[in-house]
Symmetry: D2
Subunit: 386 residues, 4 copies
């Protein structure tokens, strides 16, 4: 059966939204997906205007996500969207995701998956019930050199993992820009829109997911210190966490949005018995691999010596740098290939299935809740509970 481009319906992401534009580029890159319809803002006027700018025909340019989901579900299969992409602030993830699943649509959703762990668990149940596919855009696990790192750990090249250091410093909330009309900082520092954590919810979850994704380990204990550094904030803008993993390894996770002068400096180091690896998101095409008694190696995107997983997620030859948008596009592409395989009645390969889903979403929400609880406790170690 021939399957054409997948049709995407976007919820949120209208004019002036940041992450919506990123999702569209990521969906465009490989020519496997087309923006078919949208409910691009909670304000119907803005929604329509945004749709026109994106060349949506009027009948596919909806005023609300409810309208979009309901009307699309009544269309013949050949015109109906295949999936929705939800790029609203955190508090507005759950309802459209649930509605889409209930109407038989697959879902792509920006992280964190929901506002609360409870909502996340409901989505998890619904996904399992329906057999539909949910892709959660933990972007950083889409980078080829992150895939390479994960594969090398899995293959035992470093022996047993002993220690993980992950840090994610940003500086963009160093000043109280939420008081000066900055839309991005306004909702991220507002508990009603962001949830119970600011910095840890926004970027700490990325760091935790990356550590678990590369190492194949799970966090089992945490000791968290959350800080409100800029006066007047209601949510943490900085934090440090001691970690224990299920194999006994220890770790440290540092996230900050008041690290003045930093851009988006996510870095991870994973130490094993025989060697270690180091990866920096801002120079994503290089994976540093260090050994006990041999020269450090620089594994680089696009080379023939890389693992199949790394090569599968690369579009250009070595020396032609790929970046954030390509990493993002890898999530979309793998999701699209999975859906297309299912439509054709084939089993998606493990490489196609390599994108974060609802289970990572639940784990991310549990991370937030556990971190906030630990931060409020005088006890050193708290068990990581889901």
């Amino acid at each position: 059966m021939a399957v054409g481009k997948l049709r995407m319906g976007m919820i949120g992401g209208g004019k002036n939204a940041f992450i919506g534009a990123v999702h569209r580029i990521a969906a465009n890159i490989d020519g496997l997906i087309e923006l078919s319809c949208g409910a691009l803002s909670s304000n119907p006027e803005t929604a329509k205007e945004s749709g026109r700018e994106l060349f949506l025909p009027d009948h596919k340019n909806y005023g609300s996500y409810q309208e979009m989901i309901e009307k699309e579900s009544l269309l013949p299969e050949s015109e109906r969207m295949h999936f929705v992409t939800i790029v609203t602030p955190n508090f507005a993830h759950f309802a459209p995701a649930m509605l889409a699943l209930e109407h038989g649509f697959h879902v792509v959703i920006d992280k964190p998956i929901t506002l609360t762990l409870e909502e996340a668990k409901k989505l998890q149940t619904k996904v399992k019930e329906t057999g539909l596919t949910l892709c959660l855009t933990y972007t950083y696990s889409g980078y080829p050199m992150v895939k390479q790192a994960r594969q090398m750990v899995k293959d035992g090249e470093f022996g047993q993992i002993r220690k993980i250091m992950v840090e994610y410093p940003q500086g963009w909330l160093s000043l109280p820009s939420e008081k000066d009309g900055n839309k991005q900082s306004a909702w991220r520092t507002d508990p009603s829109k962001s949830g119970i954590s600011g910095c840890m919810g926004d970027i700490g979850t990325h760091a935790a997911q990356l550590a678990e994704y590369i190492s194949g380990l799970e966090i089992t204990k945490i000791c968290a210190d959350l800080n409100i550094v800029v006066d007047g904030r209601a949510l943490d803008d900085d934090g440090n966490i001691l970690l224990k993993f299920d194999n006994g390894a220890n770790g440290v996770l540092i996230a900050s949005q008041i690290a003045a002068g930093e851009e988006n400096a996510l870095k991870i180091k994973v130490y094993g018995e025989k060697g270690s690896l180091e990866w920096h998101q801002e120079e994503p095409n290089t994976l540093k691999v260090k050994w006990l008694d041999a020269p450090t190696q620089l594994y680089r995107t696009g080379n023939g010596y890389l693992s199949a997983a790394a090569q599968f997620n690369t579009r250009t030859p070595s020396g032609h740098p790929e970046g954030y948008l390509e990493a993002f596009a890898n999530l979309y592409r793998n999701f699209a290939l999975t859906i297309k395989a299912q439509i054709k009645g084939e089993n998606p390969t493990p490489e196609m299935l390599d994108f974060p889903g609802v289970d990572e979403g639940v784990r991310g929400m549990a991370f937030i809740e556990n971190v906030v609880a630990s931060a409020g406790s005088d006890q050193k170690w708290s068990d990581f509970k889901i």
Copy 2:
């Protein structure tokens, strides 16, 4: 007047082609262009098969570029392609480009523009005659930090430019892989397909264009040493050139495809009276700016302190690395915005017009011819002639 997506017709770039896929991604990224039709191979069977894989409907999937150009020109404006993209080897650039221009289509073409300087001049004449737009994909000038570099030179921040060092070492032709069935190396080392120069035509032209683009200067004299390092080749796979520029500055251009272990290590340094800049293509989001008596600065993509030109060509916030595909996409986007403005009867802005065109194409072919002539001469300096 509302203008939808621009319709692209691709010539070449079928199955297993490298650069065709890159052009498609670059055209996709911003959602301004759609692949509308194609003549994707000189072999009609391969062409059709390639088109089907790219979801082209049968009536838009042509067996030859002649057929495509002729049939498309007969379609109503609303269905007709807006432009062709030519991604065949060098020897097959001229004929389809000329045919497209003669039928009123704009053209995007991979560099070098043609096989000979004479062909390039003919295209130049035709472009001027028709008033159509030609975009030549000297990718590296699409990077935001290259725009920033150019702007800072233009603004006189470094004073008069005194010296330019540009090097472009690659290692992928270190072995005679053209004898082992490598398609990419086979055509690039074949004079009938590549022209009179190998390495200098393929990558030396990029280096020369980048030096002139950033500095705003023109090469006026050269002293070239071309080398065939791997036995049995007919074309240079390595070369070094001393340069003089029109303001009296001196320079060096080094290009090599036998620099074993290098990926795509294009680097440029431009020295002025008061300071200098340095840019590496493999870490494209950083521009190093050095001063006589102050700390070196790292200008980074996506920051508010950058020039309008740099910001206009960026899609993500600082710390979210952009790469080769985004640089490539900037050429397509600026080309598309120019065409769309023209369709709407508006004047494209200088920022929209910032992509290489037929004049750079002529200059690139002149570079090749001058370099080959100088390399064959015992005289130290040769004037750069067009």
Copy 3:
């Protein structure tokens, strides 16, 4: 009054010792100090043999430190050593230091100052009583760019300091080399020679001193996780500590000797309200300075734009890298200039007095004791007590 070279008497540091050779080089570099006598090993035979290899005349080549201190104290001033340098393992620091002070000799001593906090306090009392000078070789504070960092913080260039991240990963104890006859690892993993902490005593103290030295802040609370990663060890070989400083800033200190593949990768980041700094010991001539809204700057050793403190501690012009031995030599040189000023009856300048002393020694021992106590507690935060 003319003062010639200062005469140094070395205790420990004989054949096959590592740190003794480093101290001698550091003392030699500036031509201000000469090795005048030694008691170079606890084994009198080895001591004598080591002395001969270092060109000590027989009458200055002593069999024990007691003999050296006593005999030297009886010599006329013009022949007598000016100070002792103690480079024995930790457990053998206190006794010779105390004996030297009691006989009127200044002291240089490798860190940590003693085996216990109690011993350190006794030395502190004795130093204050005698008015003699004690220099403790926390090497890393001798680097010019560390001086630059400290000065910039002091000058308020970054505003109030908010967060400090310091990490010190080494890999050399990844394997149980102490069981294979490695002398360096044998004593460092032996509580009777090293004290109550392994990794934190050996390198965690460096990290803590560096953080306090650069920031001018003091640690007030800690939450420590110490680990024995390699089976069979009695002391920590790894650890992570959450920190609070006296101005409310938070921090993280990570030290590990099982970070396989790392050499001596001490790194520090200090974040303020307006900007931040980053320094890596393995590339010590560069200080990265980051700003909220301006390009990152690379401050480099040897430039005219640096602070007086940085310039005072540099010997070569910019671009001529200085390293670990020069940083070490800065401690010796400043110590020597201080002593020489005193001999001449002059007041040492603040720049001369810029070397760690007995107070830093006490603080380092308190760090070790507090960390070990916190690591054994279920309570999250412990006050830092001296």
Copy 4:
């Protein structure tokens, strides 16, 4: 036979001299050499005053090099200096060197060896006649990772060498500081003190020596472009040279002292059939080694996997950076070990003999003369003649 410290007599290098202080530190570092006497300035008053500051006793503090050489030669062997170190400007190298050799003293001399090729050849003859040892301080060949590079080339790890790129940009002569009383720039831009070349004589010779030292090849043809960039100068302050080596390899040598914003950025890349190496003087502890089909490796000073030659020239463990002064000290140490072996009647090992000598001096002067001749010629290639 017991041999104590070697006694050094210094010519030049008094107050305010730069390179004299560097030589003294380099000689001090390993405790093998002592400054025994000096004629530290051509001005007798300055000479004496400089000597007192360096703690020279009056009878060893000479007013002229002639006096020093003559008087020392009359002293008994046990008091007599072993060698002279000449750190005057270029024009004042030959006479004291010749006089010292005639009186039986070994010689250390700063590069370039003399003012003219003719003088250099006379010294070469005299050195051969007398059997004395001359060490020429081409500092950069003293770095451990340069030794490692040389060894790997020699061992054939990269196959046949095909291309060498060496660049040495400095910025310190970007302004006409010689007109503002800068002593260093005044003599370096004065033909009567520097010789027939400025930039190429001062730093181009370093670059050429490094290329030949690492590759084991010899330059056979050159095509030089020398430039006077700053108005009013009599000597080149910038230049670019195309090279051919005796095995057919090609190369480029770039040297500039008007590269605004550069410190001392000597870099070299050597490409062979199977891989290549890259070394930067400003980060001297890392040697980048690149391969056709395997990850790039970072060889680092102080590791057990390095060649014997690299390890022999290292003083600290890995991760404890060594720098310019240690590289300089390696020349002195190897020279001293050679002399001491000779005194003991032993044969110096090849590792001891690994320092540049009079033959490199002659080759360096020939480089200058050939480059200046080629720069004045319209012919592309000139043979390298000695």
